[in-house]
């Protein structure tokens, strides 16, 4: 099962935890979610200046608390050049408060995977807000509609986008597919990169609609990765997952279709796995792992390719011929295994004509 033990009372994220959070968020990125390095250095700096951020559970939220989902949205190629403004996040939260008619008291990562899992801790520190030990995916997914609140049937009252020059837009759409469409158009107008706040939630609406415990889980996984003498095994154990194969990349096929980077990777087993061959299907994230025509793991369950020695996550765009890797899989949050969850993020939602088989640690 996925890590669901949330932060204990009085828990905090300190500057010294950010490197572990970033390493863990890269694992939860399941191949996507963007590079964590830039987000990591700025969050470390902000936490050093402002002190640690309180990490709270849904149960610790009071009746006056209001949580906002936060994320960056846009083109990675532009995101490495046109970085966010210092006031962008202030504007976003100010407009969100105006739209909600009450103060925002806590932030939550829209996705724990990749840089979007790391940045909110810096923003919470700067604004003096709490960070909810949860996110909307439990991993990284490419579309705004693929969030747990959508699975839970929670409507999104409004969304706010702010750009680097100070433009702010309040968007009220009929559903998340329209939100994705409008947010994309505004992002393009803003120079291909924006910050977004959406899904205002109370303690009551958040319960059962968010994936809990993922910030503390990412930090734990990151600490295991950075400190263990056998990082690959330590990461798998911390996630309650399995190593499907240890081997090397022997084939890499990439293509761009409909604005997504699709591809497949062949990994040949080495050592104890010699003679075995697995194929990994990609679309920004890792989607399906096959061996001898059999699906070993697929979305919405989690698959991350990690360096066979260091255990560090390798994003899909960083995969290279000849790399020594381990294929790591672990079960998704139960919310994704509901009929609505599978409709939004199961194999068929990504265009694969195959039936979802829940991943169990014993699979192999």
């Amino acid at each position: 099962m996925p890590p669901t033990s949330p932060a204990s009372a009085g828990a905090q994220v300190a500057a010294a935890d950010v490197a572990a959070l970033a390493a863990g968020a890269a694992i939860f990125g399941t191949g996507g979610g963007g590079a964590v390095h830039t987000a990591q250095v700025v969050a470390e700096q902000v936490l050093l200046e402002n002190g640690p951020v309180p990490l709270v559970t849904v149960d610790e939220l009071g009746p006056d608390d209001l949580v906002m989902l936060m994320s960056g949205i846009g083109a990675p190629t532009v995101g490495i050049e046109m970085l966010s403004s210092r006031h962008q996040i202030d504007l976003l939260v100010r407009e969100a408060q105006a739209a909600a008619g009450r103060p925002i008291t806590a932030l939550m990562a829209a996705e724990i995977g990749g840089s979007n899992g790391v940045s909110p801790v810096g923003w919470a520190s700067r604004l003096g807000l709490k960070l909810l030990d949860a996110d909307g995916m439990g991993r990284a997914f490419p579309s705004a509609a693929m969030v747990s609140m959508n699975v839970a049937g929670l409507p999104c009252d409004f969304a706010i986008l702010s750009d680097v020059v100070g433009n702010v837009s309040v968007i009220k759409t009929i559903d998340l597919h329209w939100l994705e469409r409008h947010a994309r158009a505004l992002t393009v107008a803003s120079g291909s990169i924006c910050l977004g706040a959406h899904y205002p939630m109370t303690a009551e609406t958040a319960r059962g609609a968010v994936v809990e415990g993922t910030v503390s889980a990412a930090i734990r996984v990151g600490h295991a990765l950075l400190s263990a003498s056998e990082p690959v095994a330590a990461v798998a154990a911390e996630l309650g997952g399995s190593i499907l194969l240890t081997g090397k990349i022997t084939d890499l096929d990439r293509r761009t279709e409909d604005g997504f980077a699709r591809g497949s990777v062949t990994i040949a087993g080495t050592g104890a796995d010699r003679g075995r061959l697995q194929r990994l299907e990609l679309q920004n994230e890792n989607l399906v792992v096959l061996e001898d025509g059999e699906v070993l793991a697929s979305v919405p369950d989690n698959v991350t390719v990690i360096d066979a020695e260091t255990g560090q996550a390798i994003t899909t765009e960083m995969l290279r011929y000849g790399q020594r890797v381990a294929v790591l899989a672990w079960a998704c949050d139960p919310i994704w295994r509901t009929p609505r969850g599978l409709e939004l993020a199961g194999p068929q939602a990504f265009g694969y004509d195959l039936t979802y088989v829940p991943f169990k640690e014993t699979t192999r």
Binding site: H37, T38, V41, V42, Q45, G74, A75, P76, T77, V78, I80, E81, M82, L83, S84, S85, R86, H87, Q88, I89, V164, V165, G166, R184, T187, V188, A189, G191, S192, I193, T250, D251, T256, G259, M318, R320, Y321, G322, Q323, R324
Partner: protein
């Protein structure tokens, strides 16, 4: 008289190598000297040694090319660095990320005199983010004290260069025409923080680069040879001395680039995998069309993330001096380095090394033979050699990208560690003069330049033309013959989240050096 000789020098951490090559590419003289602490002494000794080998032919030398790790060493040792005032154009964008974020504290304190984020910069489509804040820049220059140079980084300046150029002019108007100003558009592609880091490092290296360029000019003058001098840069091309003083950061990585180009030249292979086995490491790279394949990943120099182009090098901790654990047979990570002639078993010392392992397996090293060893030591040395070979085999296979037909060119003093048959590679070539491949690479280099452009897909051809023109201009500025410069590489990357299909193009130009060196002798 035919003044067709080129003298190449490569200053490494341990050795300074020099060669002289004739117009047909033949090696006429070569030497290996110890690198001196002041760098100049080693350069002087190496140049004097090859000129002595040439005898009366010395006046045929018309060009001297130098490759050096001096800039890298200055950053790593935090030595002789200039102080820099850093200006970022782009506010309010990127203000969440102040300049030099994430630098090692000691280095940032040493280098940075002050920084400002002022209004300016461009969006991906060229739209200004904000009007250029000229007053803000003047105020920053007035309130900042004790800087030697100014580094300017504008958001999307690689594709919209005009603002950075305007700021260079403004700074010189305000502080005087000789103020040193460095622009990020000349240093690296998109990737704001990494390009800014590289630009600030570059500005900080000016005096260091000056001292090496002056040392070279002095030595050449002392020797009385009438030659034009050049520096090797990290993409396997050359730049003029003036250009090297302006862009010293581009000399970082020239060692591996020279080694790859030199190995390709000596073996005659235009496409190959090259392994340079030294005393401490083995550096592997790939040569494509005679040039080193470049890495697309950010690199750390002295703890600072940078994004300027570097050769795609895989370094293994395997060299002739690499130690073998006498209890477990584990390879490295330590090395006896240049003390191998005292400490290795083969030389009567007490430390088992990979050289000893190779000698045990039958390699002839310096005509010496091993003392008799206890069986357990022999067994461990065998294990260690097998481990080293396995690592080399994995690395070769990884660099080959699945092509098993590329020849493997072996150079460097520890080349005997590489066996003749490695699965994953074709024929193993061990060219003559491979021990000075670095200096050969410096001597045969072309002059080059690179430029980037982001544009709409339907203006793609215009963008390629514009970037090509800029790359050719940079190559000519670096010393290429305007009549023989050509485009050697065009790379296109799609940009997502745009309202029309957008592409980034990156163009590299290179050409033989203008034959300026012959003007007095021809």
């Amino acid at each position: 008289m035919n003044r067709d000789l080129s003298l190449g020098v490569d200053v490494g951490g341990t050795n300074t190598d020099a060669v002289v090559i004739d117009g047909a590419g033949r090696v006429l003289a070569s030497t290996k000297q110890a690198t001196s602490d002041d760098v100049t002494g080693g350069i002087r000794a190496a140049i004097a040694a090859v000129l002595a080998q040439l005898g009366e032919q010395r006046s045929r030398v018309s060009r001297v090319m130098l490759g050096t790790t001096h800039a890298t060493n200055a950053i790593v040792a935090r030595r002789d660095l200039d102080r820099v005032a850093a200006i970022r154009l782009g506010a309010p964008a990127a203000t969440e990320y102040p300049p030099l974020l994430g630098w090692p504290k000691g280095l940032a304190g040493l280098v940075l005199a002050g920084s400002a984020m002022v209004g300016g910069g461009h969006m991906v489509d060229g739209t200004p983010i904000a009007p250029l804040d000229r007053d803000g820049i003047r105020r920053f220059l007035d309130r900042t004290e004790g800087f030697d140079a100014v580094a300017v980084t504008g958001i999307f300046s690689p594709s919209s260069p005009e603002q950075e150029l305007a700021v260079a002019e403004l700074v010189r108007e305000h502080l005087g025409p000789h103020t040193r100003v460095f622009l990020s558009q000349d240093i690296g592609p998109t990737g704001l923080l990494e390009r800014e880091n590289a630009t600030v490092l570059n500005a900080a290296l000016y005096s260091v680069a000056r001292s090496v360029t002056e040392a070279l000019v002095t030595v050449v003058a002392e020797e009385g040879i009438d030659a034009v001098t050049f520096f090797a840069q990290n993409d396997g091309t050359l730049m003029s001395l003036d250009y090297a003083a302006q862009y010293p950061v581009l000399t970082i990585g020239s060692g591996p680039a020279n080694s790859i180009r030199g190995a390709a030249h000596l073996s005659g292979a235009e496409h190959a995998i090259v392994v340079d086995v030294g005393g401490t490491t083995s550096d592997l790279g790939v040569v494509v069309n005679g040039f080193p394949r470049e890495s697309t990943l950010p690199r750390e120099i002295g703890g600072v993330r940078t994004n300027f182009r570097m050769p795609d090098i895989l370094s293994l901790g395997i060299g002739g001096g690499t130690t073998v654990d006498p209890r477990t047979g584990a390879v490295g990570p330590g090395s006896v380095g240049h003390r191998i002639t005292e400490q290795a078993l083969l030389f009567g010392g007490g430390t088992p090394t990979l050289t000893d392992a190779a000698a045990l397996a039958g390699a002839v090293v310096g005509g010496r033979s091993l003392p008799s060893l206890p069986p357990v030591t022999s067994a461990l040395l065998k294990t260690a050699l097998e481990d080293a070979r396995q690592q080399l085999e994995d690395a070769v296979e990884r660099l080959s990208l699945g092509r098993a037909d590329l020849p493997l060119v072996v150079v460097g003093g520890g080349g005997f560690l590489v066996p003749d048959g490695l699965p994953g590679a074709g024929q193993v070539l061990r060219p003559e003069h491979g021990d000075v491949a670095n200096a050969v690479g410096a001597a045969i280099s072309l002059a080059g330049g690179r430029a980037d452009q982001i544009s709409s897909l339907h203006d793609r051809e215009a963008a390629v033309a514009q970037a090509s023109e800029a790359a050719v201009a940079k190559a000519i500025h670096a010393g290429a013959d305007p009549l023989r410069v050509s485009i050697v590489d065009i790379l296109e990357t799609p940009v997502t989240y745009t309202d029309h299909p957008t592409v980034k193009v990156s163009v590299k130009a290179a050409g033989p050096l203008a034959r300026l060196g012959e003007k007095t002798g021809a």
